[in-house]
Symmetry: C2
């Protein structure tokens, strides 16, 4: 009998990623396929179960060598009950008992959590936060997702909605957010809002090297804004600077809420690397309090896109070690 | 041998309060004296030790009937090391090993935590949050103190500075705070800033029934502002409304960070009762997100000024029950 492995599945709107990982976080096998989520939950769950079988077969191991299955999925969902309440803009995904369905199809003890929590757990377990006990991760994408690790465990909260840090209000009466609030952090510091803000200013008549991309009907992403800012385009530089400033305000609020040792930035915008990090760190120092030095170390994700699937295997190991899997 | 009791001491800038409490949170004896903190730490520690002896003697019990001593004190301090680093504006309180000093003088196992954490623990244990496992308390005084209870335990954070929620930035680039930041919650929603804002507006020439108090050289407190607002004074009503709005923004940020079941408001401003509560609840609904209904129940402190001393006895019981006292 070989080394025991955990199975992790990362269910995204675009891809499903599956992996087998050891208790030390070494990936033994990894595989990916398109989600095609518009088919509804049934076919996608069949694909997920098939991926489990395929991964086990590919390693020539038996089901008994697999300690369990961890699943990260978009929410809102209930970790406690193993249910996905809905998936944004997708029909056929209302109140899906995903945990039970996978348990029945695979025979493996299964645990479900939301994708931001699972990605944070991945960074905590094997990424930027390895060795750290108190960690917060912010994923800078369309919005800002987040996960909070306290004493090595995911913070879930009474209503299982803890760590929705993209919706911290950092500018009272500020920009309206899709959530119904005004002044949410993600309206100032997510990748999508970064580019949207550039487009708005160009439409208002501001000059920018980015307008050439728009005129050609091209896609404007965080990458293009970062490149233009680096090349000295004043509009791109201004918008980028503003996003970094607000991200620093978000980091300061994390500092005063959870007081973690480390804060990990991931997602599209984090690919800017030091161009993001040095500025956010500087603004967090400049605009943070002066009473004592308790700022978390601000870092960039180490695992990148693998944080989700590795974190999914990680929560399976954690469930096994804490006796949740019996 | 009678019922076992825990000793709690609440060290404040003005008073020291001591109490003996049962494991069910019943206060068997309570006593209070002036702190006279300007004497320095030595004499104050002697007074605290004497208070312990006095409380034990007053009940006709022996030291063996007391399971330990819990102490709440102003910070910054280290719970882990039992040290007060300093007390605001008071000399002779630098790096005081309070836990060890009290342990040596009283012979009782001793535990130290900051006053806001201890007061939150009191409300959680025996007050508004009784029966709740996830709770946040905001104390509305000179600033805004806070404590966060997660799964029945005080959240401390890596640097032992978690839950400094008065310094959440809710209005980027807003009013300067004594801490060095701008736009801190407490600059908009603490009792002291409520009255300060009234005074500023009156000095700028705004009319208000409150100016009579100032002209007579009287003290303007949250109580007077609340009374004037209730009587329809436009300036007082406007400032009160603004404070309630920002407090609601603070509650929303607590919701998205910790997602607790309950949020308890205490301190001077909370004495306004329903005049505060109904407005904060309404604004939290109006300005909170519409994605799901996960707002904590917002409540007023039940224990009032006794939250600190009861919480101090409570952390002693918790330390005993979790084996910290050996």
């Amino acid at each position: 009998m070989g080394e025991k492995l955990a199975l992790g599945l990362d269910l995204g709107g675009t891809n499903i990623t599956g992996a087998l990982a050891t208790s030390e976080g070494k990936i033994a096998a990894i595989t990916r396929r398109k989600t095609q989520a518009s088919r509804g939950s049934g076919p996608v769950i069949e694909d997920m179960a098939e991926m489990v079988e395929h991964l086990i077969a590919s390693q020539g191991i038996s089901r008994d060598d697999v300690i369990g299955l961890g699943v990260g999925a978009p929410g809102p969902l209930s970790h406690r009950d193993g249910i996905i309440f809905k998936m944004a803009n997708l029909p056929g995904w209302t109140n899906v008992r995903l945990r039970r369905a996978l348990l029945e199809r695979t025979g493996l003890p299964t645990i479900l959590d939301n994708d931001a929590n699972v990605a944070a757990f991945g960074e905590f377990w094997m990424g930027a936060g390895k060795g750290v006990r108190q960690m917060v991760a912010l994923t800078l994408g369309t919005g800002i997702g987040s996960g909070v690790i306290i004493d090595g465990e995911i913070l879930r909260g009474h209503f299982e909605n803890a760590a929705e840090l993209g919706h911290l209000i950092v500018h009272a009466r500020g920009r309206p957010c899709t959530c119904g609030q005004r002044g949410c952090l993600e309206q100032y510091a997510s990748a999508a809002n970064l580019t949207r803000h550039c487009v708005e200013l160009i439409r208002e008549g501001r000059e920018s090297s980015l307008s050439a991309i728009l005129e050609k009907g091209g896609e404007l992403g965080a990458k293009e804004v970062v490149e233009a800012a680096k090349e000295g385009d004043p509009l791109a530089a201004e918008v980028w600077d503003e996003a970094c400033y607000f991200l620093a305000i978000g980091c300061i609020n994390v500092q005063h809420s959870f007081n973690p040792q480390m804060l990990v930035l991931s997602g599209g915008m984090s690919k800017a690397g030091d161009f993001l990090l040095s500025r956010v760190r500087r603004y967090a120092r400049e605009h943070g309090w002066k009473l004592c030095d308790d700022q978390p170390e601000i870092s960039i994700s180490v695992l990148g896109d693998d944080a989700g699937v590795l974190g999914a295997a990680g929560i399976a190991w954690a469930a096994r070690n804490s006796g949740v899997f019996g």
